[in-house]
Subunit: 363 residues, 2 copies
């Protein structure tokens, strides 16, 4: 039987020694890790600046606030949904007359040199500055487009940092025709819809549920050292949501297929976040997996530093009181809190918070 909030990784012991206690939570809300949402493509070499000791202290402090106060959750939703007032700085990216994305007007200047790949079109109404971006008419097949745009992205060099060598399908909405595939790191620069799978793994013992929470490796390219779900990943081209969750379960937490096949789809969340040239339009398919009480996760791809089993209420406290979680994970756990009755209808703002979990174009 797994003990609650006990380390199961030698790496965790190192993380403990590395951790720096900080009790002034409110004052620290703007500490370096609070800007993680905007630093994802340029992570610092340092870790997030907190350890499990800090997280567990914050999680279990019963005197800090009232769990019916949802304001901390609203702030986390806001962090994922910034910049809508800057939508006018972007133009539509059309393929076969369908809107597949949005591109910053400033970014289009970098695409003008590649006029055998992109066409930057002026509007024909009275406002001649209106434009949209489309593909050169010679690029008719998925494969041609994928190769041509891939070459442009290489040509842009440091303008698009953090190349992952992982391709995302480009569509107007999920399940509709795929026009081409695009490097994952480039997705927000073209404002394409990006889909992911996020799984809350939990145990239930004596009527109490606890979530397995991961702490990302300090050397991971994006959001190093931050808290994360048990399993999550982008949805690359050519794999179903369920197969992707099974694959990620194996790689990220050592969960065998015999167990992960029971992962249950439970809905989706979405957000839209504008930051500089980047326009993130993400939809995350959410999964729950109830695990045996004696299961212990084991990271196999080096992306996770350590795991802890944390009572659900305590995980909620971490979300409300800190910026320790990778920004979008907050939303998937808030969704879990709704579905499992931890956020209750009579808490002020219940319906507004529930709605806000699909602030993006959930299609």
């Amino acid at each position: 039987m797994a003990a609650i909030a006990t380390s199961f990784s030698a790496a965790a012991a190192i993380a403990h020694r590395r951790s720096r206690p900080h009790l002034q939570l409110v004052a620290r809300r703007r500490a370096p890790f609070s800007t993680a949402a905007s630093s994802s493509s340029a992570p610092s070499a340092a870790a997030a600046g907190f350890g499990w000791t800090d997280a567990l202290r914050v999680a279990s402090d019963t005197g800090l606030d009232d769990e019916s106060d949802l304001s901390g959750y609203f702030r986390k939703v806001d962090i994922c949904n910034r910049g809508m007032d800057k939508k006018g700085q972007f133009v539509e990216f059309l393929v076969e007359d369908q809107v597949v994305g949005y591109i910053h007007k400033g970014f289009t200047d970098h695409l003008r040199d590649f006029n055998d790949v992109f066409s930057i079109v002026s509007g024909n109404n009275c406002n001649s500055s209106l434009e949209h971006v489309t593909l050169h008419s010679s690029l008719k097949t998925q494969e041609d487009r994928t190769i041509a745009i891939g070459n442009v992205i290489k040509g842009l060099g440091e303008l698009i940092p953090g190349i992952r060598n992982e391709l995302y399908p480009v569509t107007s909405s999920y399940g509709t025709p795929v026009y081409f595939s695009l490097e994952r790191a480039a997705a927000p620069y073209f404002g394409i819809k990006a889909y992911g799978v996020h799984m809350n793994g939990y145990i239930e013992a004596d009527g109490e549920k606890s979530l397995w929470i991961g702490k990302r490796s300090d050397v991971k390219q994006t959001y190093p050292g931050m808290l994360d779900h048990l399993v999550a990943g982008g949805l690359p081209y050519g794999i179903s949501c369920k197969e992707n969750i099974i694959k990620e379960c194996e790689e990220e937490a050592g969960i065998p297929r015999s167990m992960s096949t029971n992962a249950t789809s439970v809905g989706a969340i979405s957000y839209v976040d504008i930051d500089g040239f980047r326009y993130k339009r993400d939809v995350l398919f959410c999964y729950d997996l109830r695990l045996p009480a004696d299961f212990v996760p084991n990271n196999e791809d080096g992306e996770v530093d350590s795991f802890r089993l944390i009572p659900v209420r305590h995980a909620g406290n971490i979300i409300r009181r800190t910026d320790y979680f990778k920004a979008n994970c907050n939303l998937v756990i808030i969704d879990f809190l709704f579905r499992h009755g931890y956020i209750k209808p009579d808490y002020h703002g219940y319906l507004k918070l529930l709605q806000s979990l699909r602030s993006g174009d959930c299609s």
Copy 2:
């Protein structure tokens, strides 16, 4: 241990004898009970025209269609969200400068006689036909307004049928100040937000879940003889969602407080339906309750004819293939199907259907 799909009520046996088999489901989609959404305030004396035998046959037929085809679910959402093209026939109902509802222009003609209660205000822009409805300035307290409007509703007689003698709080959104209370049957005529609690009661045995489904009494005022959740009810003035669910559990299904206190809030659905003078703006708080496998519900208020335990997949088939369920119950069960993994992300239309479950003003 409860057997699947077996009757637990003597009344059910009567219902069986009364039932008329009908196998041509597609052709029968426009049978009398398919118009139940619009006949709720004027129910016919006859029951819904089907029995458990019909429902169970439809539910378990494996050859009829493919469960990944969501079109049957979309149709059920549409039935609850009619008439948005007629929104222009309504004017705002304002109290203390807040929009609390919408009233049909034709219905306002009936309110003009009560000019010590309602003020019908012409707009002051170029379109002089623009109006809104508000309360007479002398009605300053909740109590004064409740009494005055209650008297108007009595005065309107048959114009508002099906008086329930149950008061709904009138607000601009859930948890905000209550301006007065309004007879439940009048709610759609004033277009006020109406809140309800709906509970899916289920068992899990051998990894398979089954839902307890009720069949409404043939003499119930609204939706007689139709299928229903185990427990559901409007949210009257002065009671919390949780206390209401506990109360309805006792009255509708004989579930003791020791069990019903485990009912878990899981989210909410909403819809907006315009039909004649009626403008329904409903928000339903959804609950799940996992019941012991040997629990047998027992209706105590005469509103339910009988209950059956139906495998979740079979309940989904009834929703997709028939109009047997009371219209809004379909949506709450579809929400259950999403949260419990029966509707899967790779089914075409997944995100659109998920979004459609909150088509109304979910606030």
